[in-house]
Symmetry: C2
Subunit: 802 residues, 2 copies
């Protein structure tokens, strides 16, 4: 009974024992799987269905639609993208505005006290305000929406791959994410706002598409076409692009980020739609920043559309600078993979503590806040005061919020270089590090202290229960490391230290996040220096290559920690040794074209499968034939509406009168969908029959049982399936041999069934680092290094209907 839809029953496998030893063996092989670790309780994870459900009922419904309804659909889809752009642009701007004002006000007050040499009072104000902001952020996160913790990028990425973690797109999560992110970033924690903005964008997109849901009492008929996974996926992709566009004011970078990192399925048409969305973001941001130039936005207003402008008339660099850039790339790659490694370990430790309850989550957040405040206030005292340069382009020491020359504890006419970096908002610190003509401003020891503090603070701050991103901390850490390398090279390089800082950021981003084109464009849009492009490309390539030799992309690591059953685009080599029949397990649950109600109720209650093959047998056809696949949700709708027949005979067109297309629309989120347990049926009704034909998807994708698992996985992923039917090659058997779901392709599942496989693989070949390249290689020239003998023993595992 656990043949199909295994991903869905995983949540259960932890809370109650399963019926069959076979299933037990499978679930025990990845017991940590399918459980969101950070900031969430144990909960089941649903798969999404991107396949087109072509059944007679929906086809008939389609035929009845008019021209104007098609126009409605087209218009609404563009309108929704436009609205996503506008809303995300506004949220991004508000976020920026509030952070700059809250954090700015804090620094102004503290700096004024420092000027008056009231150091203890300054520390008290600084640490108390940080503590209060962090406490508030973590309280709302823990109590209202634990799903809002962290960056949200892994969740959105998994969603776009077809994994629906519950609650990630609720209104609750959206509000907590926005408010929590503003508070947490303002509280001088070492976290960024880009990740939360991506989640916010995706959330806005998902919510706008389902505004009509009854839960919020805002039903709008025009939105009914968007209540399916395919359209929602498109909107969420656009939303995540808008998120990066708003966070970094980088519209093109946002689109590329969504396509390179987030999306699992690409289409040119979707690229255009995402571009439209981010264009809306860009125009909103441009207009609002224009408005702020007149000084109506408080402490916000210094930054234009380019966040960290490093333009210079001519960047001159020559062949001699290439070794420095290569060195930056190599070290950036090593540091980046080390960063990922440490973050993984820290998150695992946090997870143990977080598992103890809400109080411990809040305690961790608060202690990190106090620790950060102490560090930020204490470290600048280590740096010695430096005399102001006589030719400084801005007032020295700076009185006020930003600026390169923080006075801190220094006497008049002097400044504290470490305080300029540390006792500042992250954005201003990056701006200082990227700035040109500041080569002599910072001392080596200050930069080193700053780098070390950044590196570890950002690792320890990410996992706490507040919305937090990784981009800005990584940029900051990378910039300080880049400047340090620049200082080592000194006058031997033509590049100024600001450009070294930019390249350092690029290298650490490449080493940690492993993107290429999108990072390149984002950095370009952040710094507005196109002439640097060849060097940025070089440094990104090197750091990614070096880092890939050690471990994976940071988001993939977090996704694995959270246990999302993510389908990789490459195929594990051992999958070529197996046929699909080797992984299909358990007895298969089938329905007949005309099925007894009690059978359906029994099957729905005793299994958690979400799709069932429908076959027609001799009374209805000459031989048993496969008719199609019916979904659990549609069966429940049928039972709920009680469209029953007194005896098993075909109804024909009657069924269409009893239903509207709305009955079969997907409900907004997991909690809303109907449960089989909620449906009451009388004994009489249980003895009646249902005609499943009009509601069965008559065009399911299929593979023959001798198909290699690797090729079935390619089909499954490329077409975006939830269920894949396995049909027998021998033609006089039952017309369907099994069902494959996402879970059946997970490496843990496959290796659980065939534990000898990896050893055989390792005996012949190096798997670890070459894995990706190797699987490409084996695609080019097919592999099967194991024996088929191993596989043949499992053929008996599945048989016809029973």
């Amino acid at each position: 009974m656990s043949n199909n839809a295994a991903a869905e029953e995983e949540g259960d496998s932890v809370t109650r024992p399963l019926l069959l030893p076979l299933s037990l063996r499978r679930s025990s092989s990845n017991a940590t799987s399918q459980l969101a670790i950070v900031g969430s309780n144990l909960c089941p994870i649903e798969s999404l269905d991107y396949e087109i459900i072509e059944n007679d009922f929906l086809k008939q419904d389609w035929r009845s639609r008019s021209k104007s309804q098609i126009c409605q659909y087209i218009f609404m889809k563009w309108m929704l993208c436009f609205l996503i752009g506008i809303v995300v642009g506004l949220i991004g701007f508000t976020n920026n505005l509030l952070v700059e004002n809250i954090a700015g006000m804090k620094f102004v007050v503290t700096s004024n006290m420092m000027l008056a040499r009231k150091f203890w009072a300054a520390f008290f104000v600084f640490s108390t305000s940080n503590f209060a902001l962090t406490l508030f952020a973590s309280l709302i996160t823990v109590l209202i929406s634990p799903e809002a913790a962290g960056s949200g990028i892994p969740e959105v990425k998994a969603y776009l791959n077809g994994v629906d973690a519950p609650g990630i797109f609720s209104l609750r999560t959206l509000v907590v994410k926005i408010v929590g992110s503003i508070c947490a970033v303002s509280s001088s924690l070492h976290i960024g706002k880009a990740g939360p903005m991506v989640h916010t964008g995706a959330c806005v997109a998902a919510l706008l598409g389902q505004v009509g849901s009854k839960k919020y009492g805002l039903t709008w008929r025009w939105l009914r076409y968007f209540k399916n996974d395919r359209d929602r996926r498109d909107l969420v992709t656009c939303g995540s692009a808008a998120g990066i566009a708003a966070a970094f004011r980088a519209p093109v970078g946002g689109v590329l980020f969504a396509f390179e990192e987030m999306a699992s399925w690409w289409r040119s048409a979707l690229l255009w739609r995402a571009f439209f969305t981010t264009a809306a973001v860009a125009i909103v941001l441009r207009a609002l920043i224009d408005f702020c130039y007149s000084g109506k936005c408080g402490l916000f207003g210094t930054g234009g559309l380019i966040m960290f402008d490093v333009t210079s008339e001519s960047v001159s660099y020559h062949l001699g600078d290439v070794p420095a850039v290569i060195l930056l790339g190599v070290i950036g790659g090593i540091l980046g993979s080390f960063y990922n490694f440490l973050l993984d370990k820290v998150l695992r430790i946090y997870n143990l503590v977080n598992g103890k309850g809400r109080i411990s989550k809040i305690l961790i957040a608060c202690s990190i806040s106090i620790f950060t405040s102490c560090l930020l206030f204490g470290l600048p005292w280590l740096a010695s005061c430096q005399a102001c340069p006589t030719d400084a382009s801005e007032p020295c020491p700076t009185i006020g919020r930003s600026g390169n020359y923080k006075k801190f504890q220094c006497p008049p006419g002097h400044y504290n270089d470490l305080a300029s970096l540390i006792f500042n908002t992250n954005d201003d610190a990056i701006r200082n590090l990227f700035s040109k003509n500041t080569d002599s401003e910072f001392h080596v020891s200050s930069i080193l202290i700053f780098f070390t503090a950044c590196f570890f603070l950002s690792i320890f701050s990410y996992g706490i229960a507040v919305p937090s991103g990784l981009f800005v901390p990584v940029i900051l850490t990378g910039a300080s490391y880049g400047r340090f390398i620049g200082m080592l090279f000194g006058s031997r390089s033509n590049l100024n230290h600001g450009l070294f800082a930019v390249l350092g950021s690029a290298s650490l981003l490449g080493g940690s996040m492993r993107m290429t084109v999108s990072l390149c464009v984002i950095i370009l849009e952040l710094t507005n220096n196109l002439l640097l492009l060849p060097l940025i490309m070089l440094v990104l390539l090197i750091s990614k290559t070096v880092a890939d030799a050690f471990n994976g992309n940071i988001y993939d690591i977090i996704m694995r920690l959270k246990g999302f059953p993510y389908l990789e685009s490459h195929v594990e080599p051992y999958m070529r040794q197996l046929t699909v029949s080797d992984v299909v397990t358990g007895p298969l649950q089938l329905f007949h074209g005309i099925e007894k109600v009690s059978n359906i109720v029994h099957v729905l209650k005793t299994t958690r499968h979400n799709g069932f093959p429908v076959i027609d047998e001799p009374p209805l056809s000459e031989t048993p034939i496969l008719f199609g696949l019916i979904l659990r949700a549609h069966l429940i709708t049928l039972l709920k509406k009680k469209a029953f027949l007194p005896n098993p005979m075909t109804t024909g067109i009657d069924a269409f009168d009893q239903f509207t297309a709305g009955d079969f629309q997907k409900k907004g989120s997991l909690g809303n969908s109907d449960k089989i347990e909620d449906i009451d049926l009388s004994q009489e009704e249980m003895e009646m029959f249902v005609d499943l034909h009009p509601f069965t998807n008559a065009s399911p994708y299929t593979v023959v049982e001798t198909m290699s698992l690797a090729k079935a996985l390619i089909l499954f992923r490329e077409v975006g399936l939830r269920h894949l039917l396995v049909i027998p090659t021998i033609s006089n058997r039952s017309p369907v041999a099994g069902i494959l779901t996402r879970h059946d392709f997970m490496p843990e599942h496959v290796l659980g069934l065939h534990p000898l496989l990896p050893k055989m693989a390792k005996a012949g070949l190096v798997v670890c680092n070459f894995r990706l390249a190797w699987s490409r290689f084996s695609q080019a020239t097919p592999s099967q290094f194991g024996t088929r003998l191993l596989a043949s023993g499992h053929h008996a595992d599945f048989s016809g209907p029973n």
Copy 2:
């Protein structure tokens, strides 16, 4: 006999009559199809096979490979990308260098004569040199490689979709493309070099991957892993990215162009590889341009890495400028679609003339050259001379090659504004139009004359038999139209006329080529003005939207003209009315697992299919079962090696000793592959048997016969298939019901079989402009507006093996 591989037999259907009336009916429905029109003879077009052929022989071969061979593969793949980058970078630079020097020298000589007021001599030199260059370019194109005519982008795009037009990637074509493009661009024809550079890049990539081919006597063992369609597709994608990167010095734009416009299959890993390739291009270009700064490159050397720099300290534009931008976008969209419409008509006319033979092709090219020379020399006389501004930043009138103030026929102290645009290389004209602080330099009438000349010249120049691109003419035309709009707005807009020109170029590019993200990044990399980004995004979106209402992308139009069977990513709505069994036609040709040689020879000689299902029947198995699919190429190899059995019994492992993996590698190009007619077999051998099992792909993709055509097409395209097996749902029939190939999914084919479909479609819905959006819509909520009755009549068309 014409069931499968129909695309391949199409060439034939024109030159000799087919056997079956059924086939005849099908081919007559699209007789113009599959024939490259521009610059090529009638020739058959092959499909490419991106599926992984998993047969026992190749699996065994793979198992025998060592660790070091995997390293070889990985290393070689990166090395090839690197080499592609270096070579394409060098070619791009050489191209630029030669064009600037040849065309520059021509203008210097002519200008000097004009200075000396020898007008007729100047005209003679100008037109003669243009004529000679065009004649040479068109001679080598027509005589040596007709495939090199045109931009080559449609051919490469079709290749990446799976259509192999013969000869497009030969060494001949590469040389003609490079030399022809240099000559044609230098000859002041109104054509660009970007399109030919894309083809050049793709060609370099395809050739580097097959350097080992015996034809060129350079066999290298390490390259043997790349002799398959999948790896070649990846390399060609990288090559086309490198082409744009080299032509526009736009590495990121190149990658995006390859992915948005060219590629039909995207993968994140491939994105990274393409990025690596274009990074190599960028570094080569940067180094060479650095070298040229010292003045060693003749007349080349003024342009840096940014071709048309329009940086300014602060671009200030406000809400009031948006209407102007929207107007630019709307008119750009209308102009762009009109451009596509005219180009289509002109190409059809040229095609009729070109069909008359080589002489007529050369005559057209020559007459266009003469006409262009007359126009370029004659038009500036229409403009009145203007007095030099007193505050000009450069010498006026310009003495020498480039510069804004061409003297032409004017008296000293005056300049001819039209000549500054017309009597110049295209690049310099664009630079003049984009330049700031030149608002008063050009007269409205000059800009209008220039715009009209550009628009029509570029349309008439594209189709002649020389390598020619569309990008630069469109940019130039767009820039002049943008400046004209800028003049109309005058002081009511904050934007200077140079920025109007940039936006005008963007709008015409968007209206003609319909790209978004890639055009945006290319324009950014060309002009280095990031602050303009929101406006460029806006103008691109509007122009694309407006133009899409009228007709398609220019490259798609040319592809249709050339008759490439391109698989669109969207599904035609009427395909949902049909099942796959409705389009499978003709008797199916099957082989048995152990087949008689004479049967194989007979089938191979009488059909042109490229894939055959292999089944095992009762003597070998209990019931008939589907074993897999065998390719024609592999069958021919088997026959050639004469690995025959005296009687029909299984051989087991013996076959592996007789073959090496190299025997089954795909040959470089169409002409090289072995033909069945070349194989001599004795009568005795004809009576022997072959064991096909080890060479049969045992994991073919399959669909059941009741699958809707639309969903089968999605599978076919997403997975990149050449053959798709159709299997019956009723289980006691033959195990295979038919084969689908690319041709079976072509709208012409489907409509040929079911001529009533479009009428039924139109009755219910508007198809024309809403088509794309509608098919998306119908994916979200499935459609079937026709009747199934129509389809059912065709079920008898195919039956079991015979």
